[in-house]
Symmetry: C2
Subunit: 404 residues, 2 copies
């Protein structure tokens, strides 16, 4: 029990699992760091405007829970989620897809939902088919489980059914991950016919669908889209993820997964292993909020503001884009997606942009493979039209200084 | 795009990852189900008495946060955790181990802390050395990462240094997981000399320590134990986990990991992949509570009540145990551990016990290997002395009907 084998001046190094080797940071962490930089108008993060939070009713809901359900709110709950919240979630989903509270699994935001799904389904070496481009934090949750992402070609309506079928035949994927409505990062939406075609491909090939729908209610046209999970035969083969982050609050970290059958048990066991259960205080508060506040009216108000900001950004960005560039015009959600075209590198340009007081998210990180480095994602939700116009004008000057 | 390859009457089955195959439930979920059964006095779960929650000050803290930090509380935070909470955590740890806020990573309870550690460190096939017996939910978080648990022999003071050194030599473990103070499930505590001996073994062999300390402040004697992490040379090679679950509220789901050096970055990246960040509302509330309420006084009050209950259980259980049985007498925490002795099977006996209106947790599930099936864990914190005495008397009748 005496003497060391090595000099104490050598600092100890923890062994790091291969899945995190060389990852001193994560793409999303870098977004948040960038967004926080003094004097920069950031379009990088998908960060709601805090002035639009429904703070009064949320505070009332916390107060009610702590006053009337205080002892229960501070006590252990269950891994599946609190009954009241599961009922409210089922009620909302049932507008388009009949759902019972027993089919809901509560998660600490959609990120934990994606991680729970990956835990439950993925083996190292599995292929996950994703839209090209797709949401980078989902990719990360899948990648740390040893999955290999394969991007499927998309057009203005999202994933192309023939490309999906071909990719399934070639890669034998464990699952397909799609964000059909107001997609991140492109803002694109799959129409009804396209949804049916995709559903047919998935049923024919028996590949499960992970349907991520955090933005679907943020519609600028009044139209909303029923999830693919609601199409005939799809409910049983889809894990549908919703989140309160974009509708009520990202800081409260509450989302849920809707599923059918035995996988519900596996999801609960995985959730228990990961974090036992989500905050009972937050769960009961969100349930109370959904029961008593008018979330639909709140979302309409928020969407109206977001629509004005999309208009402002769309107007401002059109004249500053180089010839041959392309930009999406989303009917909802939070993001515009611009492709400057061959010769441009949005990553290289970012330092200049930040110098000029404007930040965006370079698009390359959203591609599983064959990245288009001329792309950028711009969130239009955080700033007022005036701020958007000024910052996009600055971005225009930066682009003009970076000829292809 | 037409026709299915298989009849639609065959229900779809999701593929389940091997790590969860056959796990339709988890040991901890079963505890909670058992604990909830009508008419049963349950000693199974480590469930705080809700009447002892510091509800008023907790509610005040939520109210203050939502009134004065409302917009920030509802907004995205950072994966590392909110600054105020990290400062409060560092302040508490610094009583025995100098710690800066930058060395704290916030987690959604200790369970997520253990999962984050497993994510960051473990490769499939790695060996984790654990106390025999040890905390079963930690084992689960390690096991789903493909680790193999090897139990190290313990005595009245926890893990035996010579056995630990021998196990390290034999198994080349990735890490050692210990609960040195008021251990779960045994209630045992490592003395100061034992801690030094264990620290020497770990430094000599260069194996990192995962030190789980959720109960350490719940002392019945006035004495508290500095963590092994505070011994010379151990801070840099230890991940120290604390939780607010047993001190303030399990429903709020806030804990933290204390670490040094580059592993802090990996822990933050893993946390981001798992759940992005913990509830900002809950984090700021716990920070406010730690800043303004007197947690130490609250914990003293709780510990005084728990001490009376330990005394009640110790008094009641002594006469009902068969000859040759053994029961621990913890100086803090939540659990008594009883070994009935050869021939008894606590698992088999449980159905009879529940029938007689009393539940405990069979001890076999706490062993990584070579389970002593005559053991049981009894939490003494949930019920009053009178209820404890009556239920333990009923347990005595059940034991008497189950001769070895």
């Amino acid at each position: 029990m005496s003497g060391m084998d090595r000099p104490s001046s050598t600092p100890f190094r923890f062994p790091v699992a291969a899945r995190y080797a060389g990852m001193e940071s994560s793409p999303l962490k870098d977004i948040f760091a960038l967004a926080a930089k003094e004097g920069v108008t950031s379009f990088a993060g998908g960060i709601p405007d805090r002035e639009l939070f429904d703070l009064g009713p949320v505070q009332e809901a916390y107060d009610w829970v702590l006053t009337h359900r205080g002892h229960r709110a501070l006590q252990y709950g269950v891994s599946e989620g609190e009954a009241e919240l599961r009922e409210q979630a089922a009620r909302r989903i049932s507008r388009t897809l009949p759902t019972d509270a027993s089919q809901i699994r509560v998660t600490s935001g959609s990120q934990e939902g994606l991680f729970v799904v990956a835990e439950a389904l993925l083996e190292p070496g599995d292929v996950v088919l994703v839209e090209s481009p797709t949401y980078l934090a989902a990719v990360q949750a899948f990648a740390v489980h040893g999955a290999r992402m394969v991007g499927v070609d998309t057009d203005e309506e999202g994933v192309i059914p023939e490309a999906l079928e071909e990719a399934i035949r070639t890669h034998h994927p464990r699952m397909v991950y799609l964000i059909p409505t107001f997609q991140n990062p492109t803002g694109r939406t799959m129409g009804v016919l396209r949804r049916r075609q995709v559903a047919e491909v998935l049923q024919r090939s028996d590949v499960p669908l992970i349907e991520d729908d955090p933005y679907g209610e943020l519609s600028f046209t009044g139209s909303t889209w029923a999830p693919i999970a609601s199409l005939p035969g799809m409910g049983e083969r889809t894990l549908l993820l919703n989140s309160m982050s974009k509708l009520m609050s990202p800081g409260v970290r509450i989302g849920w997964i809707r599923a059918e059958g035995p996988i519900l048990d596996t999801l609960a066991v995985a959730k228990a292993a990961i974090s036992m259960q989500s905050s009972v205080v937050d769960q009961l508060t969100v349930a109370r909020y959904l029961e008593t506040a008018d979330l639909d009216a709140h979302v309409r108000t928020v969407a109206e503001v977001y629509r004005e900001r999309r208009d402002a950004m769309a107007r401002a960005i059109a004249p500053i884009l180089p010839e041959g560039a392309h930009v999406t015009h989303p009917d909802g959600g939070m993001f515009l997606w611009a492709a400057l075209g061959e010769g441009y590198d949005a990553q290289t340009m970012l330092a200049d942009a930040v110098e000029a007081g404007v930040a965006y998210l370079p698009g390359w990180s959203f591609f599983a493979e064959h990245a288009d480095r001329s792309t950028m994602r711009l969130s239009f939700v955080t700033h007022s039209p005036a701020v958007i116009e000024e910052a996009i004008a600055s971005l225009g000057e930066v682009i003009a200084r970076h000829p292809r």
